[in-house]
């Protein structure tokens, strides 16, 4: 909200140090988002005192004057105005000043006489139209004072962040009250004097005969008041009101609408002025009904938009016209005040806060009125505020305010649901205990009173009885009062302490520790952690060629920012692939990225989606560039698998297996370079080289090795502790053995055979070479060389024992796999 300090200072003393004032506002809960100074255009123009005035030696109408401008030597100015004279005070534009219209004042010579400035007329300063001569200022004008200050033209406009709990601060007087409380000084409420200006005219039809008001639902509209002002002349507003509104960025419309805006900003009361003639029915009365909108009812609002309404919205209606205004949000175009309007129906009301907010959001229509209604407008004091507005309308438009037949106030007032002020107890010791500070009782009482509360003692000296004002709907509970006192006492005055309780220990859960292990392992494997968007394009899975089977339905956003991010991701890989492309397109070809992130899925009938955490990685290029002593080895399937093997070791996953994935089971992976990882029979995830077509679809360059594991499955499979195994004390015997097998015999098969055939003595099997050669090994065959280690835990093996065991192993392996021993 914009607040003009010039306007504000009419009701409360505003500190002269604007920076300190803004700091204090910030600290007490009113954020200052901007400070704008106006009136700066008249820099360099000051009050001058004409000391001497001589005729120009070379002109019959010009004079040469010396003027005291309050600084240094008097300046000499050549002036052509007829009313210039010694002794008068005039506005002087000194050298360097810029007049409205971009006229820069320079040193010059006029007919041979030096002139160092200019004495100004009103028009030259942009002040009205008088150009008949120099603007003669009152004799007591202080010499040297900037003219903008002297004329009180300078203003500072603050842009304030009023938090949603403070509807009272959305008005100049409400803010003046706040400033008064901040500085514990009195403020001046203009309402009484403004309302007292109202004079009622009983000569015409009384208001309560000219209009009737029916409120169908008290919840929707707790209070509705109407006044009639007759004989108005719609036209321009007086300058002072235009200036007030302009200062806070409001355009002047006409005198009637401007008054409603002026009162809204001054007193916080939204008003609407209807053209009474357009509301009046055939019987000569305006029958105004506040009711729920009918389903599909249409109303063209003041902004020219036709709105289709729903019964959740409240309208002001007449039997003849239907809806004429959207309650609390905006008036209707057909009944607005125009230049032809003569008689006015002035509405001041309160409408249900939540419903106003919903209506605004449903129609995408936010107005100064709706902003206030959705935060809460006070129903108390409404007749006075309406009186102030009516009196002002009468004053600026020449109209008269109709009296009422049934009451003194001149108002039709339907008030089915008066608000009750909150009566609260304020326990001072509890307050001090909760704040951790001794805040004096006197301060508490004074500050609450300045905020508009009634504060009284109770039988218990520690407890105050507080009645909160109805313009503060946020003061509902004792704690609300604590906040008020604390913020005005100053949070900076509370000493910092730490909670005293000894009953706490910070612990990491098992899952968090395992997650740390996973992160540490992936980084130790050279992968760099990244983050990508949780949002996805609906076509991402198809582009990746990933089967949607088992992934559930995608989670769709109702209000996505754009089509590319309209669903929640079902796999982390598309985001990572985009990062691969991002790097490759910038000449970075060695990419090793991982992300532990959430994927989402849902199903018909389901409210909340399912969330799962995935551990995903992509590897493209090599781990590093070729060095002087290291080769750049391009990533392939086994780099990805190696990371998973490291993870399996670090997490102590039991019974880990990798099973080849057929292309129909993993169409996103390159056939033959795809596997799933299992631990104890549970699928943990997949690893492989992404299908070249999938990589291409994300504008990346293949090969890209990737894996995506289920974090939950990993954590669940992970063994909590590893058993101790005796360190061997007897020597081992190592035998190298090469087998020639058919291509389709997997290493895993060989391993299984060797492990089962090796018996207790076989300690470990290490594959150290795979060799293919059509001539020496044979077509469709490969030679697999293993280092077999034999050891007994309780003795040194004899060579005979080893030989026997090894021969048995070789025989069994050959028999089971069709292998031949390679010499």
């Amino acid at each position: 909200m914009k607040v003009s300090l010039k306007w504000l200072s009419e009701y409360v003393d505003v500190p002269t140090d604007i920076k300190a004032f803004c700091d204090k506002l910030d600290l007490t809960g009113t954020g200052v988002e901007g400070v704008e100074k106006t009136g700066a255009a008249l820099d360099g123009i000051v009050v001058g005192h004409v000391l001497t005035c001589e005729a120009h030696p070379d002109s019959d109408h010009m004079h040469v004057v010396t003027v005291d401008v309050g600084a240094g030597e008097p300046v000499q100015i050549v002036c052509g105005a007829p009313n210039i004279a010694a002794g008068i005070k005039v506005p002087v534009a000194t050298v360097g000043a810029v007049l409205p219209g971009d006229l820069k004042i320079k040193k010059s010579k006029l007919r041979g006489v030096a002139s160092c400035g200019m004495c100004c007329s009103q028009r030259e300063l942009g002040f009205g139209s008088d150009h008949s001569g120099i603007w003669v200022l009152p004799e007591d004008a202080p010499v040297g004072e900037p003219i903008a200050d002297y004329l009180k033209m300078t203003d500072t406009v603050l842009d304030l962040e009023i938090t949603p709990n403070r509807p009272d601060c959305l008005s100049v007087v409400g803010f003046a009250r706040e400033v008064g409380a901040m500085y514990r000084q009195n403020w001046r409420d203009p309402l009484g004097a403004m309302a007292a200006e109202l004079s009622l005219d009983a000569s015409g039809a009384p208001v309560d005969e000219a209009v009737s008001v029916t409120v169908e639902d008290a919840v929707r509209c707790p209070r509705y008041t109407a006044r009639v002002i007759r004989g108005c002349k719609v036209g321009p507003s007086p300058d002072w009101m235009v200036e007030r509104l302009a200062a806070i960025g409001q355009r002047s419309i006409n005198n009637i609408v401007d008054v409603t805006n002026y009162v809204l900003f001054l007193l916080g009361q939204p008003l609407h002025a209807f053209d009474l003639g357009k509301l009046t029915g055939a019987d000569g009365r305006a029958h105004v009904v506040v009711r729920a909108a009918r389903d599909g009812e249409r109303l063209t609002t003041l902004d020219g938009e036709q709105r289709v309404l729903t019964p959740d919205m409240t309208v002001i209606a007449t039997p003849e016209r239907g809806a004429v205004a959207l309650a609390g949000v905006m008036g209707g175009l057909d009944t607005e005040v125009t230049d032809e309007t003569c008689d006015i129906f002035l509405e001041a009301a309160t409408f249900e806060a939540g419903r106003t907010s919903r209506t605004s959001r449903n129609l995408g229509l936010i107005s100064e009125s709706s902003l206030r209604y959705e935060r809460g407008v006070d129903d108390q004091g409404m007749v006075e505020r309406s009186a102030a507005a009516a009196a002002l309308i009468a004053a600026v438009s020449g109209g008269t305010v109709s009296a009422a037949a049934g009451n003194e106030s001149g108002c039709v007032d339907v008030w089915p649901a008066p608000s009750e002020p909150a009566r609260l107890a304020f326990r001072i010791p509890r307050f001090c205990g909760m704040m951790g500070a001794d805040i004096p009782r006197d301060f508490v009482v004074d500050v609450l009173a300045r905020l508009g509360c009634e504060v009284a003692d109770t039988a218990d000296a520690d407890v105050l009885a507080v009645v909160a004002p109805t313009f503060r709907p946020d003061l509902e509970r004792e704690i609300d009062l604590y906040e008020e006192v604390l913020r005005l006492w100053g949070m900076d005055r509370i000493a910092p302490t730490l909670p005293a309780s000894p009953d706490r220990v910070g612990v990491r859960t098992d899952e968090q520790r395992k997650r740390d292990v996973i992160n540490d392992t992936l980084r130790a494997c050279g992968l760099n952690e990244t983050m990508t968007y949780s949002f996805a394009e609906p076509g991402d899975l198809a582009r990746l060629r990933m089967s949607p089977e088992g992934l559930g339905a995608p989670v769709e956003l109702l209000n996505p920012l754009n089509a590319d991010q309209s669903v929640m991701r079902q796999s982390v890989i598309p985001g990572l692939l985009r990062s691969v492309a991002y790097n490759q397109s910038r000449g970075v070809h060695n990419v090793q990225l991982y992300e532990i992130g959430t994927v989402f899925s849902t199903a018909e009938g389901r409210k909340k989606p399912k969330e799962r955490k995935k551990v995903a990685a992509v590897m493209a290029g090599a781990m590093h560039e070729a060095g002087w002593n290291t080769a750049a080895v391009p990533f392939d399937f086994f780099d990805g698998k190696g990371v998973l093997e490291s993870l399996a070791r670090e997490l102590a996953l039991p019974k880990v297996r990798f099973r080849a994935l057929a292309s129909e089971d993993a169409p996103h992976l390159q056939p033959g370079r795809a596997a799933e990882m299992l631990s104890g029979g549970t699928v943990i995830g997949w690893v492989g080289e992404l299908h070249p077509l999938a990589v291409d679809a994300f504008d990346a360059t293949a090969p890209v090795v990737a894996f995506e594991l289920d974090l939950g499955a990993l954590v669940k499979a992970s063994c909590p502790a590893r058993p101790y195994v005796d360190v061997p004390t007897f020597p081992a015997v190592s035998v190298d053995q090469a087998f020639v097998v058919a291509e389709d015999v997997a290493h895993e098969k060989m391993l299984q055979c060797m492990t089962s055939a090796g018996g207790k003595l076989l300690e470990s099997v290490q594959l150290f070479d795979v060799y293919r050669d059509e001539e020496r090994v044979g077509a469709g065959k490969k030679s697999m060389a293993y280092a077999l280690t034999y050891r007994a835990a309780d003795r040194t093996l004899t060579s005979e024992e080893v030989e026997k065991a090894h021969n048995r192993l070789v025989t069994k392996v050959c028999k089971a796999t069709g292998a031949e021993v390679r010499g």
């Binding site: 959001r361 951790g436 604590y482 909670p499 990491r508 983050m531 956003l557 989606p609």
Partner: protein
């Protein structure tokens, strides 16, 4: 010539050869020639039987003396040659130590998670545990249970992403839904209060979503760290002391904090916390937009309504809660010029941390 004379000649020539041997191999050749199976000195030993009896003692002594002398000389010469050869080998093995080492490339932690780790450590030290909650929430946990009922103006403080609700429930406002991407980690507070025993000392780091178009200073997804304490006798001073300690740990001991009164629906009294600008130290500069302060987090005493909704008696227990933006801390600590870099996965960016 007498045998003893032959021996002394052999001994002298052998010692000369040993001294002349320049390599281990040459020395070995000398050893073999003299002491080997068919070595010259070995020949004398073998032929001792043919030496006349009366000379045997003298010859034997001479042979032995010669052998000892030769063996000593061989040993000494071998040691000298070994030392020289080792020295030569060492000299030859010298490398340019400024050549790059054979380092294993270690991966890096993402800046945001690095900051979350750092803060988690600080809070673990203060006796807090780390909690978590879902990223897709119901309206109840994101708003209502945090004292922001439907149509409350405080809800418009954040722009929410709504999710298609497949349960068949509909919203009163077009385009909204009962299911949403959490706009704050504060919902974890409610889950924790519902699920955990008192007292509660937790932080909850996590991803949150707001409907802001990505630009240098906004992202539609970012991270918050929520904090919640519920215990007997908790004061506003405790909140101040805790956050002051944390800010000094994160930003440095010379930094100050400032509490500005503010409004959040789920805390009362509420405050925003600023940390003094690390560039100008409070004088005012471009970084802090001339204020000398940088906004860092929001906090307050847990609103009694929130405690009550979670079944905790606000007359017995009090608490405080806070929420800080992790990206904000990243910007302040590392001067990241464009938040979008955090989501691009640019290796040149990631590998800086």
């Amino acid at each position: 010539m007498a045998i003893t004379d032959e021996l002394s000649a052999l001994r002298a020539s052998t010692l000369a050869s040993i001294a002349a041997a320049e390599t281990s191999a040459a020395l070995e050749a000398v050893r073999v020639a003299v002491l080997g199976k068919s070595g010259t000195l070995t020949g004398y030993l073998r032929s001792m039987g043919s030496v006349p009896k009366e000379e045997r003692a003298a010859v034997g002594k001479a042979v032995n003396e010669a052998r000892v002398a030769v063996e000593e000389a061989l040993g000494a010469r071998k040691a000298a040659l070994d030392a020289a050869e080792l020295e030569a080998a060492i000299d030859a093995a010298a490398v340019d130590v400024t050549l790059p080492g054979r380092a294993q490339q270690m991966g890096t932690r993402h800046l945001i998670n690095g900051i979350i780790d750092e803060l988690s450590e600080i809070f673990l030290g203060l006796g807090y545990s780390v909690a978590k909650g879902p990223e897709v929430e119901t309206d109840y946990y994101n708003f209502t249970a945090l004292n922001a009922p439907a149509d409350h103006p405080s809800r418009s403080m954040q722009d929410t992403f709504y999710v298609h609700d497949l349960s068949g429930d509909t919203s009163q406002v077009r385009g909204e839904s009962d299911v949403l991407l959490r706009t704050q980690t504060s919902g974890v507070q409610v889950h924790v209060m519902e699920d955990q025993e008192l007292p509660i000392y937790i932080i909850a780091p996590g991803k949150v979503y707001r409907r802001d178009v990505a630009d240098p200073s906004h992202l539609p997804q970012f991270h918050q760290i929520e904090g919640l304490v519920v215990d007997k006798g908790i004061t506003f001073g405790d909140l101040k002391g805790t956050l002051d300690y944390v800010c000094k740990q994160v930003f440095g001991p010379d930094r100050k904090t400032r509490f500005r009164a503010h409004y959040f629906p789920f805390t009362e009294p509420s405050a925003e916390v600023d940390v003094s600008c690390g560039i100008c130290h409070g004088e005012g500069c471009r970084m802090c937009k001339g204020t000398g302060w940088l906004e860092i987090l929001g906090c307050g005493m847990v609103d009694p309504n929130v405690l009550e909704m979670s079944g905790i008696d606000p007359e017995v227990y009090a608490g405080f809660a806070f929420g800080m933006g992790v990206e904000r801390i990243a910007c302040l600590k590392y001067n990241v010029p464009d938040l979008r870099m955090l989501l691009e996965g640019d290796m040149r960016f990631l590998r800086q941390f």
